[in-house]
Symmetry: C2
Subunit: 160 residues, 2 copies
DNA sequence: CAAATCCGTGCGAGATTTTCGCAAAGAATC
DNA sequence: GATTCTTTGCGAAAATCTCGCACGGATTTG
């Protein structure tokens, strides 16, 4: 906690400085459950409630904690089906990657999108209600000339 | 909102009943930012603060909202490297899947684990600090007789 | 069709939680 | 060792959440 000042504004952008073990412990806990109160945190990390909350506040302000989200059971939205897609594109236009990423970002079915090295270009995680919706999605999105190949892996079960 | 009582205890387990448009709106908002206050929710949803909070409380109790988590910038943990692994196992023992899942669940490097259909059996998302750590992980985990094949896709960039 | 019942609402008091100022203490710098 | 910088704990004030209550609309019952 000596040379903290975790982020310093320097030439217009933010630079990370070091976090100490208390910060890491807090992050660990909040990553698991972001609704822990100051007192609960206090009990687990061994700092006063106020100190914990002050640190957490700073972690949020500085972007170490990017955001807080509620995890909603996928069943609720009726999106019972998850598919992982390995996507391979034609190697004609390198700028296509950025465009694709942006497009995927706007599609609600695409829950996750990774640009990867190797035989494939993208790994997508798709959440839909049923095979029909997935089929429509595939028709709409993957039947483009610049998409060379796609492989769908239906998810049977997940962890984490 | 008439026949709510969204979950009813029935023969020992919980069954979903319907959520109305307010619930969906709340879920949508909290999925984006779980730190919205009652007043903020109220303004966006058009119910009183108390009504919003009561609904959210119930959504949590009934498991519609599974949990709340803080999203920590991956850079902070120095886990700068993400790898997606397509794993194929020997088809000798079907019960191995469950064992594997449990094992993966205990490994901190494994951020996500999906059991899938098709040519591969598992899709894992691995988070490590560097190639060295990844290499060690591979040696430790994937060099087992029952693992037939694995393909590592290094992630260049991600969305969502 | 009215009465009874169920379920959710808004209001507002009370409880809990968070924020913030302040004095003090630990570490770094000189 | 003095000065400066940063964080701590405490406690008051502010913000937020929880809960009881009375009310009203919708469904069910008689």
């Amino acid at each position: 906690m000596f040379i903290r000042r975790m982020l310093q504004r320097r030439l217009g952008y933010w630079t990370l400085a070091e976090l100490d073990k208390f910060d890491y412990r807090l992050l660990e806990l909040l990553q698991e459950n972001s609704r822990l109160t100051g007192n609960e945190l206090s009990a687990k990390v061994g700092l006063s409630s106020a100190a914990c909350l002050r640190r957490v506040q700073r972690l949020r302000e500085t972007g170490v904690i990017e955001r807080d989200v509620a995890i909603v059971s996928p069943k609720v939205f009726g999106k019972k089906m998850m598919v992982i897609v390995l996507l391979t594109m034609e190697r004609d236009r390198p700028d296509r990657y950025m465009l694709m990423r942006e497009e995927f970002g706007r599609m609600p079915e695409v829950v996750q999108c990774h640009h990867v090295t190797g035989a494939h270009d993208f790994v997508l995680r798709i959440q839909v209600s049923d095979m029909e919706e997935y089929s429509a999605f595939v028709d709409r999105v993957f039947h483009e000339p610049y998409i060379k190949r796609y492989e769908s892996l239906a998810v049977l079960g997940s962890l984490k």
